[in-house]
């Protein structure tokens, strides 16, 4: 009886178990390769996975394209970096920084947490009115908010060093396992969020906000809380990124980065956690492959720089036209999916 319940639970949640195993296998593989360049690629991809998961939590379940997300990721990056750096380091790196900011100092894990919470707090303060808006108006408003955040990050020199690089230090402060475990935990969280009460209400509001509200769902409130959670996750990822790449500006967390995240989500299928996971693997692998290809072709007299972005864009357009639910078709990939594949084979035999 009890083992049956466990079996049933495992079957229903086979999706997340598989995703965790796949991610860990990738981790073990890249660890075993022991190649600095590929290890770097893996770590950046894991941080991107955190960005993608945080974004899926809101967009996938609410159906709202919230461009401003990446701005909140940037806030997390700066805040955590400012918190973790020693006053002396900040004096060297950002001499014009406000003295009271320079004097803040705390251990890295706490700094990452503060970055996430601070970003969530800013989101909580500014996004309530935006959450009423749906459709094109909502998208435009998020876009405008992103521009506001970006201008602040790029121009507020006494905090962010302005358009100049913000240097956190010499060597990466977060390592392979910190990033991998973070990505794993966040993926599990995002998967179960979808099934939670808040996740269910949010998905209902996505499918039909009128019948959601006449079913007792406070549509604005569920969007609001979900967006705050989404921002906290993204900002935590932003903090990891800041302490891994060690050198960035406000533009690091802007359109180009958002575009990559969006392409992963669109290609994977926004409504499915496993979909965006595989979307990320596909896009990350494809980008890596194409990047190798660019200089190669350039060597033969073609100028191929930027081809990767063009191919990614075209792919996204094609998906939006022909497969708006992405490779996942909006469903979660799990044991049931595999059973579905095996059925026709069995019949054929």
């Amino acid at each position: 009886m009890n083992t049956l319940a466990v079996k049933d639970w495992l079957f229903r949640n086979s999706t997340i178990l598989m995703l965790c195993v796949i991610l860990l296998l990738f981790g073990a593989f890249f660890w075993w390769l022991n190649n600095p360049a590929l290890e770097h690629l893996f770590i950046v991809t894991c941080i991107t996975l955190i960005f993608v998961m945080g974004f899926q939590l809101f967009m996938g379940n609410s159906g709202i394209l919230a461009w401003s997300y990446i701005g909140f990721v940037g806030i997390g990056a700066f805040v955590s970096a400012i918190c973790s750096m020693t006053p002396q380091l900040k004096q060297m790196s950002v001499p014009i920084m406000y003295p009271w900011l320079q004097n803040i100092h705390m251990p890295l894990p706490l700094a990452l947490l503060v970055g996430a919470l601070f970003s969530a707090l800013i989101a909580a303060i500014v996004v309530w009115p935006i959450m009423r808006l749906t459709g094109a108006v909502g998208v435009i408003t998020h876009f405008a908010l992103l521009i506001v955040i970006n201008v602040l990050l790029v121009q507020w020199a006494q905090v962010t060093n302005g358009p100049r690089n913000f240097t956190v230090g010499m060597r990466p402060l977060v390592g392979f396992w910190t990033v991998l475990i973070s990505a794993l935990v966040i993926m599990v969280f995002v998967y179960f969020f979808k099934q939670s009460s808040l996740g269910l209400r949010l998905r209902a509001s996505r499918d039909d906000r009128f019948s959601a509200s006449t079913s007792g769902v406070n549509v604005v409130a569920v969007r609001y809380f979900a967006f705050i959670i989404s921002c906290a996750i993204g900002a935590y990822g932003g903090g990891l990124m800041a302490h891994f790449i060690m050198d960035f500006t406000g533009h690091t967390f802007y359109m180009a980065e958002f575009f990559v995240i969006l392409s992963m989500i669109v290609i994977g299928g926004p409504m499915s956690v496993s979909g965006v996971f595989f979307g990320l693997i596909l896009v990350a692998a494809g980008r890596y492959g194409l990047r190798q290809f660019e200089p190669f072709m350039t060597g033969y007299g073609f100028n191929m720089t930027g081809t990767t972005e063009i191919i990614l864009s075209i792919l996204m357009i094609l998906f939006l036209i022909w497969k708006p639910y992405g490779i996942s078709g909006g469903k979660e990939f799990g044991l049931e999916t595999i059973q579905g594949w095996l059925k026709p084979l069995k019949k054929g035999a």
Binding site: L200, D208, S211, S215, G216, V217, N218
Partner: protein, 248 residues
């Protein structure tokens, strides 16, 4: 639920740029009763339900549940105050499973997901669509979709249930099944039902009392027998037939 709940609608009105879609509509609905709302196409029935459930802002009027004025409440608070509804044009959560659709109603009232699932399974059983539980709502047949909307509305454990053309698009057998399900519901669940439909056979057999709307105004009120004998009602319906009749 209190001893005898009461929904009071007073002077309800709505203007759409000069068009008076609902005009000075007043009625009372008590627990245990089934009140029918009929009228030709475009007479303002759906608009009235949208006003009462907070999807449209009222131009005039008040709505009171058990002495509490809910006129200014947003839709989700009206739902929590005890008003549930279905839609003429079915509005399900298409990408959610059938069970999840019903769960939303319960979860919307602040019930945990675990308990919501129990409620959902019970209601799906009652409505005879338990075998569809794990399917996506978008894959349901029309008749099952109508039943799912009722299950979702009941999951909010309402005091009053407003049904907008629940029999539209159903065949005769399905309509009979609906009638058999709805008729005892007020007594079983202690709720009041306001139902809109064009199927007069259903309405005559289902409703304790009928209200007739024409051009947004109540033109007649009474038992089904009284209303069907009212010359004003006959006139309104004949007029509507001359304009092309009811398609549903």
């Amino acid at each position: 639920m209190s001893e005898s709940s009461k929904l009071v609608v007073q002077g309800l009105g709505k203007s759409f740029e000069g068009l008076r879609a609902v005009d000075d509509v007043s009625f009372e609905l008590v627990q245990g009763e089934i009140l029918g709302l009929i009228g030709p196409n475009g007479s303002g029935k759906t608009t009235a339900i949208n006003l009462i459930t907070g999807l449209l802002s009222k131009t005039d009027g008040t709505v009171i549940i058990d002495g509490v004025d809910i006129s200014a409440y947003p839709a989700h608070k009206i739902a929590r105050a005890g008003l549930a509804r279905t839609y003429q044009t079915i509005r399900l959560f298409k990408e959610l499973t059938v069970r999840e659709n019903v769960e939303v109603g319960a979860v919307g009232m602040g019930i945990s997901r675990r308990n919501a699932a129990v409620t959902a399974d019970r209601l799906l059983e009652e409505l005879g669509i338990a075998d569809q539980s794990d399917k996506l709502a978008k894959s349901l047949t029309f008749g099952d979709a109508r039943r799912l909307e009722i299950a979702r509305a009941l999951a909010t454990d309402p005091k009053f249930l407003l049904l907008d053309e629940p029999a539209a698009g159903l065949n005769e057998a399905e309509t009979d099944a609906l009638l058999a399900y709805l008729r005892p519901l007020p007594a079983e669940k202690g709720i009041g039902i306001l139902v809109v439909d064009h199927d007069m056979r259903l309405m005559m057999n289902l409703c304790d009392e009928l209200i007739v709307l024409n051009y947004g105004k109540i033109i007649s009120k009474g038992t089904p027998a009284q209303v069907s004998a009212d010359p004003d009602v006959v006139e309104a319906y004949l007029g509507s037939e001359a304009r092309g009749g009811d398609e549903l």
